[in-house]
């Protein structure tokens, strides 16, 4: 199962950002920073993805979309909020059309600071997400083991 650790796929969703963070996320994929060398592929399909990168804050329109993407992703999954907007609402916090950061809608695991977040810090966030993903996977495995014996022990009794 080490395969998983080597090649996590990410999906990028733009909540309602100013674009600054989006183009930095894209810049991560291009030759200078090149996260693909870590085995990361940017996919468009939430069912293929392990890591969800969200830039920008959440508003009425994007809330259901973000929730759907999150629910469609297979477990274990990690959510990375990129930029101040995604973390807390940032500079647009006081606007009438905002709902706040991404954590107002779905649980966030890693917050990447910066306005705009630099590619280096985005990559750092993604690398932390890899570790977290690994930990979550192990946890899930042990939980499954812990739960598994109970039904089997019950089955032979009748």
């Amino acid at each position: 199962m080490n395969l998983f650790r080597k090649s996590p796929w990410i999906i990028h969703y733009d909540g309602a950002s100013c674009n600054g963070c989006d183009i930095e996320v894209l810049a991560c994929l291009t030759p200078r920073y090149d996260v693909e060398r870590l085995g990361i592929i940017n996919t468009g399909n939430p069912k293929h993805a392990d890591i969800l990168l969200i830039t920008g804050y959440i508003n009425e329109q994007s809330q259901p979309v973000v929730r759907t993407i999150y629910e469609q992703m297979p477990d274990p999954k990690v959510v990375v909020a990129v930029g101040i907007c995604a973390s807390s609402g940032g500079i647009f916090r006081d606007c009438y059309n905002t709902k706040g950061g991404v954590d107002s809608t779905i649980p966030v695991d890693i917050y990447v600071p910066g306005c705009a977040a630099r590619p280096e810090s985005i990559m750092d966030g993604v690398v932390q997400a890899l570790d977290l993903l690994e930990r979550k996977r192990k946890e899930k495995k042990t939980r499954r083991r812990a739960i598994a014996p109970t039904p089997t022990s019950e089955v032979p009794t009748p």
């Binding site: 183009i23 894209l26 979309v65």
Partner: protein, 359 residues
């Protein structure tokens, strides 16, 4: 008659990093009508002007959009300065010109990459974005930031750039320009690129003018309109020739942008050695009272900032009419009758910046 089908385009579409939503009414692979709807990125930042004072608002103006961020901040400052009757120092004007040209180059190079991605030329996309990093390096050296660098300020520039650094930049730019030639030659000469772009998304001269197209859209349809001719910042001391193409299709718009990149390199080569010495900002006292429309040229076209002050620190109204917003009626016009497969390319050639359009 074939059935009509409605196909939603977006909000998550692979060619666009941003959510744009279009409902395409299709008849036999041909688009009959395109209906846009906005609100995914609508923040209502124009209303924030009531909560932040006019100097603080510069930061918000810079975050209207992260791609042409600097020009947004600068345009806002320019509008406020005119209302307040400030004449900013000469050096600040030249530095502003330098940063806005750097922004133009980086935006156009980014756009070229996205266009290559839209017609499936992954390799070219990567090449454009790799070169663009060279421009971002220059921006970072001079201002400290990469995409949103907060160098604008009411009354001048937030940072000064040392002269020895200014002297070093042209060599860096030349290196980028040399490499860029190879890439733009591909756009110019490659058969498959031409195949995808020539004759697609035609916009006639009259339509472009009547529907209010701006920037490269308007110039690719043969209208020589460029707000830099108005001579804001230091543009009154630089000869800027609007770049015009006659064809009015996606190919023409690509050529306009490519030629504009080289034009910006030329402007920078003229600007950098001529930045005069002196201070870069001035003290501001009082508060804006009055109204003014500032008109600037962004990579995507003409942009309008309206500022109305009432003599307190809080403005009555700030409004920005961004180029993408003005280009929406022409876009809907171009989409009528095009083929479904061409929609991503056509949408991309207006260089859409949705966060600009929705603010």
């Amino acid at each position: 008659m074939a059935n009509r089908t409605v196909i939603p385009f977006g909000p998550q579409h692979p060619v666009l990093p941003e959510p744009i939503h279009l409902d395409l009414v299709i008849e036999d692979e041909h688009v009959v009508e395109a209906i846009p709807s906005f609100g995914f990125i609508h923040r209502g930042l124009e209303k924030l002007v009531e909560k932040k004072d006019f100097t603080e608002f510069t930061f918000i103006a810079e975050r209207i959009c992260g791609i042409c961020s600097y020009i947004h901040g600068m345009g806002y400052c320019q509008a406020v300065e005119t209302v307040m009757g400030l004449e900013i120092p000469e050096r600040a004007k030249w530095l502003r010109t330098m940063w806005s040209e750097l922004s133009r180059i980086h935006s156009h190079m980014m756009w070229l990459g996205l266009l290559a991605d839209a017609f499936g030329f992954e390799n070219l996309f990567m090449a454009c974005w790799r070169l663009r990093e060279g421009i971002l390096d220059v921006i970072e050296e001079t201002s400290g930031g990469r995409v949103i660098f907060g160098a604008a300020k009411v009354g001048g520039c937030r940072r000064d750039v040392p002269d020895d650094l200014l002297a070093r930049i042209p060599a860096q730019l030349n290196a980028v320009e040399d490499e860029l030639r190879a890439i733009t030659n591909v756009f110019r000469d490659d058969f498959s690129v031409r195949q995808r772009l020539c004759g697609v998304g035609l916009l006639s001269r009259n339509d472009a003018y009547d529907l209010g197209a701006v920037g490269p859209m308007l110039r690719a349809s043969g209208v020589a309109q460029d707000s830099r001719l108005d001579g804001y910042a230091a543009y009154d001391k630089i000869a800027v020739e609007p770049i015009v193409e006659e064809s009015g299709d996606c190919w023409g718009r690509t050529m306009v942008r490519i030629r504009e990149i080289y034009q910006s390199f030329d402007i920078l080569r003229h600007v950098l050695p001529n930045v005069p010495p002196g201070p870069v900002d001035m003290k501001i006292t009082g508060a804006p009272k009055g109204e003014f429309f500032a008109r600037l040229e962004q990579p995507r076209g003409e942009v309008i900032y309206y500022v109305k002050g009432n003599g307190t620190k809080f403005l009555d109204r700030f409004r920005v009419r961004t180029p993408t917003f003005a280009n929406i009626p022409p876009l809907l016009k171009m989409l009528q009758g095009c083929q479904l497969a061409d929609v991503p390319v056509i949408v991309l050639t207006i260089d859409p910046c949705i966060s600009c359009a929705e603010r």
